[in-house]
């Protein structure tokens, strides 16, 4: 994607979010690309599932019949035919609707797992799946703490299906389909920095209205999607035991030890061989 055009888009989105943003990018390129994401304010969600419909239409997947299918009665997960789902929870703060999809982690487990770079963290933040590279090993699914990547078990030419933050739409200068479709501003698209500030401002202005936590600010090192809620996040089906360490950290030490082993073990073995030879000769 043309970086300049992308930044204009992100800048425009940012400006639309907060007029007079600190980084209005009228002149020239800034030094760094900012990660983008979406803020979900679950206190605003009415459970209309327009986002599910828009997602299905945008990606040629299943378009749910939101009036008749009664899907809110059960807790659903994303599928190979639906990249996002809305669930209904009964919580301390009453009924809450929560949209779920890929969290677009800052340092994703899936991309650290992928041995072909098919699962790829773009410079702008969205985590995308690149079909030509994927060999279908499903290690991304093993690694993902949010259980997002979905595999087509019933296809001889299977694909991994997951939210890409509408990467194809972003490239064409549009915002994600679900954000565009949301009628009540539950979803807000922008740079992660802006979104965090907005989230904090909302908690600060209405301290009685929210739990004082932004889910995704620190979880697994931070995610591109951020959530605000009136009820504790455990009651909304969010995993609470993930910690704040980015998942790639768990394997980093092992990977760093590889070159050391490649130097040390052959040296050691050659030395042992020499010793055994000397012993034999003496």
């Amino acid at each position: 994607m043309d970086r300049r055009r992308f930044l204009r888009l992100a800048g425009a989105a940012g400006a639309a979010l907060a007029a007079g943003s600190r980084r209005a990018r009228a002149d020239g390129e800034p030094a760094e690309v900012e990660f983008i994401g979406v803020l979900v304010d679950t206190t605003r969600c009415i459970g209309c599932r327009s986002c599910e419909v828009a997602c299905g239409e945008a990606h040629g997947l299943d378009v749910p019949d939101v009036v008749n299918d009664g899907a809110l009665e059960t807790e659903r997960t994303t599928t190979t035919r639906q990249r996002t789902v809305v669930n209904r929870y009964s919580t301390d703060a009453g009924t809450v609707f929560v949209k779920r999809q890929c969290m677009h982690c800052w340092q994703p487990a899936c991309t650290a797992a992928c041995l072909t770079n098919a699962m790829y963290k773009t410079h702008e933040g969205p985590v995308i799946w690149r079909e030509p590279k994927c060999m279908g090993c499903r290690y991304c699914m093993v690694a993902c703490p949010f259980e997002v990547p979905r595999f087509e078990y019933d296809s001889p030419v299977p694909r991994i299906e997951k939210c890409t933050l509408c990467w194809d739409r972003l490239e064409r200068g549009h915002i994600p389909a679900c954000v565009k479709a949301c009628p009540v501003d539950t979803l807000m698209f922008g740079s992660k920095r802006d979104l965090l500030e907005i989230a904090r401002v909302r908690i600060y202005n209405h301290p009685e209205h929210y739990v004082h936590k932004i889910y995704g600010e620190h979880e697994v090192g931070g995610t591109g999607w951020l959530y605000l809620s009136a009820a504790p996040f455990e009651q909304l089906g969010f995993p609470s035991d993930l910690g704040t360490t980015p998942y790639p950290e768990f394997t980093r030490e092992f990977l760093y030890s590889v070159p050391v082993v490649f130097l040390a073990v052959p040296t050691l073995l050659a030395g042992l061989h020499r010793l055994s030879r000397d012993r034999e000769n003496s």
Partner: protein
Amino acid sequence: MPGGGELSTARPVWIEEARHFFRFIIAELKPRRPFVTPFNLISIPVMVVGAMLIVIRFARGLGSVTNLTQESPWGFWIGFDVVTGVAFAGGAYLVTFAVYVMRTERYRPIVRATVLNGLLAYVFYAGALLLDLGRPWKIVNPIIGNSFGYNSILFLVAWHFMLYMIAEFIEFSPVVAEWLGWRRARRILHKLTLATVIFGVTLSTLHQSGLGAMFLLAKSKIHPLWYSEFLPVLFLVSSVFAGLAMVIFEGTISHRVFRDRIDRAHHAAFDEIVIGLARGAAVTLFLYLFFKAVVFVHGKHWVHLADKWGWWYLLEVVVFVLAPCLIFIRGVRLRELGLIRAAAVVTLAGVALNRLNVSVIAFNWRSANPYVPSWMELVITAAVIFAEIWVFRWVVTRMPVLQSTPLRLVEEDHRAA
């Protein structure tokens, strides 16, 4: 190379040699033993059914034969065929280390069979991996082109599998050269052995531990009794006793089935070899228990012992690690081969149980719909194992695997060295 003028005279010889070579290969391809045996009667139907199921799997997708789910993307094929099978194949790196690096001549009689076993295990388990890959035609992606996922443990493991297969083939190649009577090729290949063994042992330490490291990324999904940041160490140490137990197990069977292919000196030495291997297995089992205890105490895992997962864990550690460790020790003390063989079998079962626990059973332990393999997954696994045994049998009954190297070749090696 003959020049242009000589080619016309050289050609008949060349053709004659090729004809001789093909006649030899065709003669070798013919069955050597009675065809109707209990093993054949069981293995042939299983392999036929397995082959049909494999066709279905590629025509209609993984879901048509496996019970894999979105929650449990890795099942029996990964957990047993690959993650357990590679541990079982660990004997090759240990025995080549003992014989070629440490020059422990005692183990030389088993080195060829062990390397052959290791080579076939890797070839067939990599084959099983191809069945499990959703898009196996893309398997070259991590090897060529611009698709190097350096950050991935699986990238490391995949490369090591491939390189190790090549290393094991080079280690085994002098046997093939002896079989074909290629003396010059054998001399050259034989000289490569030590360097290849050193390379192979290095690769093995890394990919045996790498298999464990792969599961470090599943931190939130594996039951805390089985998840540990020491998984790579635990996998490496368990690959040692798994490999040794497999050599004992496989050697015992080979010595019964292929008795006629084994020379008498080798046969007599085998008991001492088994006792030595058993000693190694006992020591590493004990070391493994020690690591397990450290992980357990360090992780404050007492609280997890209360429920059924705790009992399952204790079963694994007490019955399948502590018990075989003690039986091995007793077997070595009393020089009782029956005890040692029993301990080897229990050890192998324990390694399989542990690997399946980490990769399948205690993985997503909170799931409401736990994965259970389908009968088709089991049949295909059995077919892969039977196919491997068929190839092993074919090679062993034709190539000098279980015999000592002919004396004239040993003398040649010494002259070269």
